[in-house]
């Protein structure tokens, strides 16, 4: 997009001048066309090819805009009934009663944000640890197997994670981890009430496991791309290994790390299957992480196929709109964060 006006202006300025002249203007001392230019002309690449290439690329990038706009338009037009009935209050109301036709998205928005951020809280430190270990500390023989396993984790379908969570994670939560948290951290109020093994915390843990490979493998790639001269420079100044990692590697790759975290968050926000299987699917807002919750994606997956009645269907589509808006807002906040973090220092190895 930014190169567009530049190329346009050069074209208009040089349009009456033949191509050879352009070439010779660039390479001033030689009057004959350069052999490279000649070769390229013979291959048939010229201004026409350049322009059509630019046009095709523009179309490709425009398709993204079109797809987003189209989704947004469909979501709005299909949820018109519910938009008219509840207005913007739909997003702040705590109600979901298909029988009486009373709908609001707040418990679902809460469940989506709570599980996603809790998942980040668990996954980001772990993922950073994995990445730092792999790039800076890992013995060469271990590097390949650990990298392979991280990528393998990323390829497991979410329904498999869900099944594993139901049969392994839920009993652990119910019988050992849950009671332990209640005993040690019960005073915070986050681990209260009856603990049945399913709920917000279990959903967050399975989400954390699912986004861990995404964040760690991206972060590893970013850290690998930090030039070795940076590391050597910091070490030469007398830094310890940890100081080198902190100032030489982490500091240089922080923008990329934020990007990796955002990609993980994106997966967490939209994850449906595994979360539905362990979150308890109860539309309520509760401070305790043992309590069952509900997410935007889950309620659509659960109720769409059997939804009868136009208002009900329209409310479900507005839930989709809510998910769309939540994603946009979260991404915007992430951009702001990146901007705030990088305002001072120049960006390297992004």
């Amino acid at each position: 997009m930014t190169t567009e006006p530049e190329s346009g202006s050069t074209k208009s300025a040089l349009s009456p001048v033949p191509t050879e002249f352009v070439a010779s203007a660039v390479e001033a001392p030689v009057s004959a066309p350069s052999p490279i230019r000649e070769f390229l002309s013979q291959r048939g690449s010229g201004r026409l090819a350049d322009r059509s290439f630019a046009a095709v690329m523009l179309l490709c990038s425009l398709s993204i805009f079109l797809i987003v706009l189209f989704i947004f338009f469909i979501l709005i037009s299909r949820s018109k009934l519910s938009l008219l009935a509840f207005g913007w209050k739909f997003f702040t109301r705590q109600a979901w009663d298909p029988v009486s036709g009373d709908f609001g998205a707040l418990p679902f928005i809460y469940g989506t944000l709570a599980t996603s951020f809790l998942a980040l809280l668990i996954a980001v430190p772990l993922a950073l640890g994995v990445a730092v270990f792999l790039t800076e500390l890992c013995p060469r023989s271990l590097r390949a197997p650990i990298s392979f396993l991280t990528e393998l984790l990323a390829a497991i379908p979410s329904v498999v994670y869900g099944l594993w969570a139901v049969f392994v994670l839920v009993p652990i939560m119910r019988d050992s981890l849950g009671p332990f948290l209640y005993k040690t951290l019960g005073w915070t109020g986050f681990f209260e009430g009856s603990n049945f093994g399913v709920g917000l915390l279990t959903a967050s843990i399975i989400l954390a496991i699912m986004i861990l490979p995404v964040i760690s493998s991206l972060t590893r790639d970013i850290m690998t791309s930090v030039p070795n001269s940076q590391r050597e420079g910091v070490l030469a100044l007398g830094a310890t290994r940890w100081e080198m990692i902190r100032t030489g590697v982490l500091r240089n790759s922080r923008i990329g790390i934020v990007g990796a975290v955002m990609l993980g968050l994106g997966r967490a926000l939209g994850e449906t299957m595994a979360v539905t299987m362990v979150i308890g699917n109860h539309a309520d807002i509760s401070k305790s992480l043992f309590a069952p919750g509900y997410t935007l994606a889950s309620v659509i997956a659960n109720e769409f196929s059997e939804a009868t009645g136009d208002l009900y269907l329209s409310a479900l589509i507005e839930i989709g709109l809510a998910l769309f808006l939540v994603t946009i807002v979260v991404n915007a906040i992430a951009r702001l964060m990146v901007w705030a973090v990088t305002r001072g220092a120049p960006a390297r190895a992004a």
Binding site: W96, R174, V198, G280, N281, H282, S305, E306
Partner: protein, 335 residues
């Protein structure tokens, strides 16, 4: 040898393709196992008719047939008056088979089948009965020693005919449940946790001590699950069986409305199992294609003559005789 057969098959398929009648349907998932068996058997016996059925859920079935995008629909809960008035294509409900919903539970040390009254089940889901040691549970189960543990009610999180039948029953036996929750494929459950599908509820109940849930009879039977008996309107505790379900349908048959939109939960009669329901096909009253309508009517006739007899082998209850006779008359109107 093999090649010859294949060539003959291809030829036959090609010649049939020209005249074969393709009928498309969509809807309820609950009767899908028996429908798919019926449709494939019918196609084998009548090679010129091919019936495709997609089990996309009752809601989707009603929408698609009302819009005219499929030739017939299927639903576990009868269409509401509002849905009927709004439909572009007017349809007729044809009951096909019956199913039942059974209560399941996980209680350590309790091996005998438990008895439940409808109002007790309703209050468990309303959160009013929160412990297994509640005297109202004990009253229905003399001699059973219940632990003093909290009950974990488990419900279906996905919209389903199973939930509709269950909540329809609870609304009939508990005025409180009717006003606070109501009957629908998805409702606002006051307490408990939701799991997706029969397998989700069953899995949760199986691995959570002190839990209580509900699943389809077919599912409980197929997986050898222990389930409880439910008190019917005659005051008898009945354990679900295809006979009990057909008895409930027979009791309701006397007052069967002409459009078949009837709920048979909490039916009269000492042998009736109270949480039973019909499942319906939605057949357009006036088809755009008379040939298709004729083929559909012929299939419905076959269903009554041959199909119904196969139902009980698959744990569906067949239609009682008087209802079959009524349906036969209704089929004659399909054109």
């Amino acid at each position: 040898m093999n090649l010859k057969f294949i060539a003959a098959g291809v030829l036959a398929a090609a010649t049939l393709g020209a005249t074969a009648q393709n009928i498309n349907g969509a809807g309820a998932t609950f009767p899908y196992p028996i429908y798919s068996k019926w449709f494939s058997e019918y196609s084998e016996a009548h090679p010129n008719v091919k019936i495709n059925y997609q089990s996309i859920g009752s809601g989707g079935g009603i929408r698609q047939v009302s819009e005219g995008t499929v030739d017939f629909g299927a639903t576990d809960s009868p269409m509401t008056d509002e849905a009927i008035n709004g439909a572009k294509v007017k349809t007729m409900h044809i009951p096909t088979v019956l199913g039942a919903v059974v209560p399941v539970y996980n209680l350590k040390g309790v091996t005998q089948d438990l008895n439940f009254s409808g109002d007790v089940i309703a209050d468990i889901y309303l959160g009013k009965i929160s412990k297994w040691s509640d005297p109202r549970i004990a009253k229905d189960n003399p001699g059973v020693k219940f632990p003093d543990n909290a009950i974990l009610p488990v419900y279906r999180s996905d919209g389903s005919g199973t939930s509709f039948i269950f909540t329809d029953y609870l609304s009939k036996v508990s005025p409180d449940f009717k006003s606070k929750v109501g009957a629908a494929a998805s409702v606002k459950w006051p307490t408990g946790i939701g799991q997706k599908g029969n397998e989700g509820v069953a899995g949760m109940v199986r691995q959570s001590p002190n839990s209580f849930g509900y699943v389809e009879l077919i599912y409980a039977r197929g997986n050898n699950m222990q389930f409880g008996a439910v008190k019917n309107s005659a005051g008898k505790f009945v354990k679900a069986s295809t006979d009990g379900v057909t008895a409930a349908a027979a009791a309701a048959a006397k007052s069967m409305p002409a459009d078949y939109r009837v709920s048979i939960t909490n039916a009269a009669g000492p042998a009736s199992y109270p949480i039973s329901s019909f499942t319906w096909l939605l057949i357009p009253l006036k088809s755009t294609d008379p040939a298709k309508a004729k083929a559909l009517a012929e299939f419905l006739g076959w269903m009554l003559d041959k199909g119904e007899a196969e139902a009980s082998a698959m744990t569906y209850a067949p239609l009682p005789k008087p209802v079959q006779d009524m349906v036969r008359k209704s089929i004659a109107q399909v054109k």
